[in-house]
Amino acid sequence: MAFTLPMADAAKQFPKYTFLRALTPSAQKAAFHVRDAAGKDLCLKIVAPHNETERLFREIRAMQVIAHPNVVRLIEYTFSTTPGQQQHYLIEEFIDGKDLSDHLAAGKPWDLPRAHTFFAELCDGLAALNQHEIVHRDLKPHNIRVRPNGQPVIIDFGLARHLTLPDLTLTVQGARLGTPAYYSPEQFDGVKYDIDHRTDLFALGIIMYEALTGTMPFLASNITIGQLRDAVCQGTKHLKTPQFLALPERTRLIVAKLLEKDRARRPTDAGQVAVLLRKPPTTGAVKP
């Protein structure tokens, strides 16, 4: 369940900001669009009491090391406790625009140049995460903001994992974190060790598929979690749909590669995918 806080109550706690509107909360944080005294728009996230601080610290660590236009920027993090009062919040850059999920909601396929440009930029952001050995683990349209100029920004690192840091308590072997519609085979079937940056690339493949075809590759109406698991771990129907086959060969190969069941067969990093996406899209004959 999402953690919510009335905006008026929040405004009382943070008088130096002007509260403009409440943003979509998560289970751990209430979020608000605020403006500081200098007129700068920001995103204020108030952490729920009794929140699992170690997971939050992980998110903070992830955000602190990355400075990239396609990854949300952390401006301030405060955790202070005084008798009778606790302040625990983050201030992030405010990203105007909408969630990617809003752009995909209509189910209408994007035109190719727009898709290639958008996802190449998204790959730049993922490559920055990879460079810092961070796996997002919950990449989905709700966690990608789209600026008014069309630029994607990866947000919400609540499940991110720093691959080089010990992580023994938060995700026990076999425990599942993330959003099933964007799960990779290793999230369904694997153990903790199986999650790496290519898990994010699989989610990217699902999102690309969704944008390019207007359909989901594995999720269907009335599907059970078991059927979804089977489709993700073994299914190949998504590669044979008319919508997918109508795409140019280059685009199909890239998406199919991202959606490989075995991590070894996916691209090794998002930077490679960005390079391929930036090559001029082909519009020639479609090879079935």
Partner: protein, 398 residues
């Protein structure tokens, strides 16, 4: 990584390699510390570099029990037992290993760092973790020296026996942020790998690595290197002796004491057979037409074979001839525009070899080395690869 044949040292072949490079055969050298003391290794590295070759060292940590006086001259050898046999290394030791690796690579001006590693075994996650730590140490050296770091992906028999275990090992190994792959696939003990399914798995794993868009050096490839460019490898390790033709840990067994057996007769490595024929015992039994087809190509090392009448030929010259033929063939294959084209060219060569073997069989001659045991299976394995992994070939062509 330079594309073409890499001389795989490890069986007293330093001078031979030098001679091959002088003749323009081969683009790189994989040095082996078991053969050379540390100071000699640096000196040979300089010689090879002077001949235009890239030079790397395979520390061969994947062999637990081997030791000799040469190995003891390397400072990193003190970690060998702990890493290779016990699969463990402490953080301070890892830092020390990294420093020693850097000093060694700096001294020989290595063109890349090959990460020390043990063989991947099925279901052994601690090996994955150990190799990741060893890779991290090597990567810091590569980054400090400004040269690429290749992850060593040596797949043990417990892995190579089934597709599932190969996939699991590659899923883990390819998570490493390597600049390339130093790849070895352990086969069952056989002079030259011949089982179609095993060869297919080797090629499929190689293709998976190549499809990462990072260079692959197929270590200990030998004659099987004919297939390597077809699965997208950039380089193939070749060597003069059977120990260097394929990757098995048995090769590290101490050699049997020399007996009084008569040394075996030389073998002529025939490009058209893509295999060996005993010279002169078998070659003289061929008709003139067949002989001309089999005893090809001619190289600077096989003059006595083509003399009239044929003269005695030394085993060393036979080995030099073989390396020369392989290096020339691989130099041609690496120029193929795509891996698919290289696979197709290799398939054609193997098909022709099978036809030539059929002609020899028709002449009622059975070759002693069982040379015709693998060509058809290799061809079929390549054909299967082109068929089943077509999308990977397409992807590599993007």
């Amino acid at each position: 990584m330079k594309r073409g044949a890499w001389h795989q040292c490890g069986d007293k072949s330093q001078r031979l390699v030098e001679e091959q490079l002088e003749a323009g055969h081969g683009v790189g050298v994989v040095l082996s510390p078991r053969d050379l003391k540390a100071d000699a290794l640096a000196a040979f590295a300089a010689t090879y570099r002077g001949l235009g070759a890239d030079v790397i060292v395979d520390t061969q940590f994947y062999v637990p029990d081997f030791s000799n006086k040469n190995l003891q001259t390397y400072t990193i050898s003190k970690f060998r037992q702990s890493v290779s046999a016990l699969h463990q290394i402490s953080d301070p030791e890892l830092s020390e290993l990294s420093a020693e690796l850097e000093a060694g690579t700096r001294a020989m001006h290595g063109s890349a760092v090959v990460a020390p590693a043990v063989l991947y075994e099925a279901g052994r996650h601690e090996i994955v973790q150990l190799n990741a730590r060893l890779f991290g140490a090597a990567k810091s050296v590569g980054d400090a020296l400004g040269v690429p770091t290749y992850a060593t992906i040596g797949l043990a028999k417990s892995v190579t026996g089934a597709t599932k275990t190969v996939t699991d090992a590659l899923n883990a190994a390819t998570a490493l942020p390597a600049d390339g792959w130093y790849y070895a696939f352990e086969f069952e003990d056989e002079r030259i790998p011949s089982a179609r399914d095993a060869v297919y798995r080797c090629c499929e794993a190689g293709l998976t690595l190549a499809a990462t868009a990072k260079p692959v050096l197929h270590a200990y490839g030998g004659p099987m290197g004919l297939l390597s460019f077809g699965f997208g490898a950039s380089g193939v390790g070749i060597g003069h002796s059977q120990n260097l033709w394929k990757f098995t840990r048995d090769r590290w067994e101490p050699p049997a004491p020399p007996g009084k057996r008569k040394p075996p007769p030389p073998r002529f490595f025939s490009q058209s057979l893509w295999g060996t024929i005993v010279y002169p015992d078998e070659s003289v039994q061929l008709s003139a037409t067949l002989r001309a087809a089999v005893l090809a190509p001619s190289t600077p090392f096989c003059g006595p074979v083509h003399a009239t009448p044929p003269r005695s030929w030394s085993s060393w010259d036979a080995k030099k001839h073989m390396l020369c033929v392989q290096a020339q063939t691989f130099a041609r294959l690496e120029k193929s525009k795509t891996a698919r084209a290289a696979a197709t060219a290799a398939g054609k060569q193997l098909k022709d070899a099978v036809a030539l073997h059929a002609r020899i069989k028709d002449a009622r001659l059975k070759l002693k080395d069982n040379t015709n045991a693998y060509q058809e299976n290799w061809r079929l394995a390549l054909s299967d690869l082109l068929k089943h992994r077509s999308a990977d070939f397409d992807y590599m062509e993007l």
